[in-house]
Each structure stands twice: as C-alpha cells, then as structure tokens.
Amino acid sequence: MKKILNQSGDIVTQSTQGFLAAYSKFFEAVPETNCIVYKNRRKGKVSLVIGGGSGHEPLFSGFVGKGLADASANGNIFASPNPQVITETAKAVDEGKGVLFIYGNYEGDNLNFDMAEEMCGFEDIKTAHVRVWDDCASAPKDRIEDRRGIAGDIYVIKIAGAACDAGLSLEEVVRVTEKARNQINTIGLATSPGSIPGLNKPTFELGEDEIEFGMGMHGEPGIERTTMKPANELVDRMYSELKEEMSLHSGDEVAVLVNGLGSTTLLELNTVYYELDKHLKSEGIIVHDAEIKNWCTCQEMGGFSITILRLDEELKKYYNAPCCSPYYAREALT
C-alpha cells in the first residue's frame, strides 16, 4: 500500500491545509485547528456545523458551502473531533440564532459532540444535534439508535443547510432535519478494505472472492459475507433490503445516491445505477433526483452504498434549493 503522504508532520493537518489552500476563496480555518468555515456564509440564521473523523473525504469538509453547512469540525483519521475544536468551530459561525450539529451516530462522535454542547452552553450558545443513523444493516430497526451514519449524512446535511438558509428557527430546522433523517436509509457493500493512513494497515480483511453486505465504513461487520456476485445480484439484494426497511411502494418519491467507497470506479457505480433503475421503475418509485458520486469514502475501500431519501413536499422544497461547495453543487440546470 503506497500512500502519498509526508514522512513527518500531521497527516490531517497537512491535508486540511492543502484543501484550504486550494479552495481558499471559499474557506478558512478555525484558528489552530483542522476545522474549516465557509467564508461567505449567509448571516443571521441558524448555523450548521457538521463533522466527524477524517479519512472519509470529501465528507465532511466538502459539504461546507452555500446552502450546505457553515463549518466542519474535523477529527483525526477515523476519530471524532474533540470537544474543544467542536466548540471553537461552533463559536466561529454562531450568529446568536443557535447552532445545529449534524454527525454520524458513532460512540466517539456522540461523546465528543455532547461534551461540546455542554461547553457551548457555558458560552450561552444555543445548540441542538441530529445524529444520522441511516445504515439499516448496522442494527435492527428496534435498536435504531445503535445504527451508524454513513452516506445518508449528505442528504441530511443538504436538507438542513437549506432549512437554515430559509431562515427557520433552530427548533424548526431540527424538526425538518429529523424528518429527513427519518426518511433516509442506506445499505452498503464492501469488496475490499481501505487502509489506515500512516499505519499502512488494511481496515479489515476480506477473502479474494468475498464481499460483505452492510459492512461499515471502518470495517464494522455487516449482515452477510458471501462470494462475489454479478452486479445485478448485488443490487437485487440491496434494493430488497431497502425496500423492506423503508416499506417503499409505488408512487413514493425519492432521491437516490449511489456512493462509491473509495476505489470502486464510476464505470461500476453507473452499472449499479443501471440495475437499480430497473427496480425503481418496475416498482413504480418516482425518482426525483439521483446522484452517482464518491462522497462518503473510507480511503481506498472497495464497494458502494445505495441511499434512498423519501421526499414529501416539504423535504422536496429544501432538497431542490440550490447549493454549492467544491463537491456538491446543485443548481437549476437550464
């Protein structure tokens, strides 16, 4: 495993500095941290702070921008940011209207963001959080709060960002964001491990011809390990999991994300959508919008995930709002 990194210095710091240097028009650092802030953020609204461990680029920093998050609090590789930097980040963007934190539902993130909220409280910053738990393979439905957040993060961020921009109160932003979060499910599939930068170690092991349905971004176990299968069979299985989980039925309107985990190519991801599209069409699901992206990755991990966001009129309004960041730009294409 050859990684293009330096011999000395902090990996995340250097990477963040590089990102900031390239996109310096848009972002600046929260001083002395690896957290970033959108320079031209709309003022006088609820602030949206996202974050989590590094190593999943473009998540999280890539989703800071117009109509998206105001800032991202970034941790070390695969480790949540600490309470201090989260708090500093929140302070950097707070407009007195409150700060909403969105992050994936992981032990480390929960502990650190909770503590940060306590610290914000001491500074009289009103806060709230929405934890994303879209990965329906990570725990049964009755233990939904044990589920992990994966690619669904991005749709939650999109909706929340638009709701903040619309000038909603913190309570209203939370309501809309939770509504979106509750209508989002993802199922993933791993074909090969990523590696931990700086350690030169694979994040998990998988046999030559093995794959695992539902495996988490960090190699957390999924729902079934099996031999490699053709794309159509993989998608069949994954779609039926999502369909049952979400009770999808004819007439439902959705946004769909096929997300690559790192080294799986767009050629393959397009093929996944080719198969997925057949299911969606034959089941009468109305696809409002679809994306095929490498948005939520785990280094050079192989595999992909499918995310479905079920829309209603309210969510559609926020979904449709334009947004723009280096990795997620949505405008009325005319």
Binding site: G53, G75, N76, I77, F78, A79, S80, P81, N82, P83, Q84, V85, Y106, E107, G108, L111, N112, D114, M115, S138, A139, D146, R148, I196, G198, L199, K201, T203, G216, H218, G219, E220, P221
Partner: protein, 212 residues
C-alpha cells in the same frame, strides 16, 4: 512508598504516558480485531500531548493540576470515544477534590472511584459491556477494598485488578463503541480501552516500585 509529592506524581503520570506511547502498535492491533484499529493512534497521540504539557512546566502546585493537565490534554486533542472517556478518567477523579500536594492510597482510591462514576455517567457503559470500565471499575473496587497504607502496594492491586478485568472482557459481548455491531462475534477478543487502563496502572506501579 506511602505517598508521593507533586513532582513524583507528575513523573509517575509521565511514565504512564511513555508506556502508552510505546504500546501504540499493540493497542492498534487489539482495536483492529473488533474496533476500527485506531485506539493506539488516539491514545499515544493524547499521551504525547499530555507528556509534553507536563514536561513543559515546572510549576505544578498540586496533584490536581497534574491530573487536570493530563486529562485536558487528552480530552482536547484525541477525539474519538477514548478522548472523552480517558480524559474523564483523569478529570473525573479531581472534580470535587480539594487541592492536594501529596497523593496517598486513600486519596488515590477516592479519585479512581470518582473517575469511574464520571465515566459511567458520560458513556453509559456498565460493567460487563466490554469497555474500559471493565478494567477501571475493578481497579477502583480493589483500591477501595485494599489496605491503603502504601501507595505502591495499592497501585499494584489496582494494576492486578485491571489486568483481570482485561481478561474478563474477552468473554463479553460488546455493548458500546464500534465493536457493538459485532454482537456475539466480539467474544474472544479483549477490549482495547480496557487494555489501555491496564497499561496505565502497570506503568504507574512499575514507576513507584523503581522509586523504592
């Protein structure tokens, strides 16, 4: 030793830092079996910061300050579950403690019991959930029960209990942290955080022994 002063306490904590830093690869190995394999990175990173902060100052007036500095450095640098949890291990112990300049067995026992309480409050994990609590709580209990005449002896008892706790985690199903999604599959592997607790107590014990 019956008790130690601020400077010795600082050196003892630095010894714990060194032990964790040296165990970086080992802890990562342990975490990668059922977690995400970053525990060694996180812990050693936090302990490096703590060590640097401890060594950069000669004016620690109290034991509290030594522990606070250590805990704050960990809390505010590590991130991850262990940043908060291990930060709380050091911070929780001194939360309601009056300023002290000598640490004896009695006080250390009080601190560790308070630390356990703080961690459980924050992390919600109970004994048997396969976390560092399974090493720390037995250590605190052992400290309570033991004869507190000699700090070195106390530390040895705590280290022993923590070590047994680590062994016990092998039979447990994880209920917290990344390992919980493994369910039954987590059985047979020891918990990474518990391993760190054991290493910390053992290092502090060795340090004290060497001072005799």
């Amino acid at each position: 030793m019956k008790s130690i002063n601020v400077e010795t306490c600082k050196q003892m904590v630095i010894a714990a830092c060194d032990a964790i830093i040296e165990s970086k690869e080992y802890l990562t190995e342990v975490d990668s079996k059922i977690g995400d394999g970053d525990h060694g990175i996180g812990m050693s990173g936090g302990m490096e910061k703590a060590k640097t902060a401890l060594m950069s100052r000669d004016d620690f007036a109290t034991i509290n300050d030594v522990f606070k500095t250590t805990g704050m450095q960990m809390l505010n640098s590590m991130g991850g579950a262990s940043g908060v949890i291990f930060g709380s291990m050091f911070l929780g112990g001194i939360k309601d403690l009056e300023p002290i300049t000598e640490l004896d067995g009695e006080l250390f026992s009080k601190m560790m019991s308070a630390a356990v309480k703080a961690i459980k409050l924050r992390g919600k994990a109970e004994i048997g959930d396969k976390t560092m609590v399974d090493a720390l709580e037995p250590a605190a209990v052992a400290l309570e029960k033991t004869d507190k005449e000699d700090l070195t002896f106390c530390m040895g008892e705590a280290a022993k209990a923590a070590g047994e706790g680590v062994e016990a985690t092998k039979t447990m199903v994880a209920k917290f942290g990344r390992a919980k999604s493994l369910m039954e599959r987590s059985i047979g592997f020891q918990d990474a955080g518990a391993t760190s607790v054991k290493i910390i107590f053992e290092a502090m014990h060795s340090y004290l022994q060497a001072q005799e």
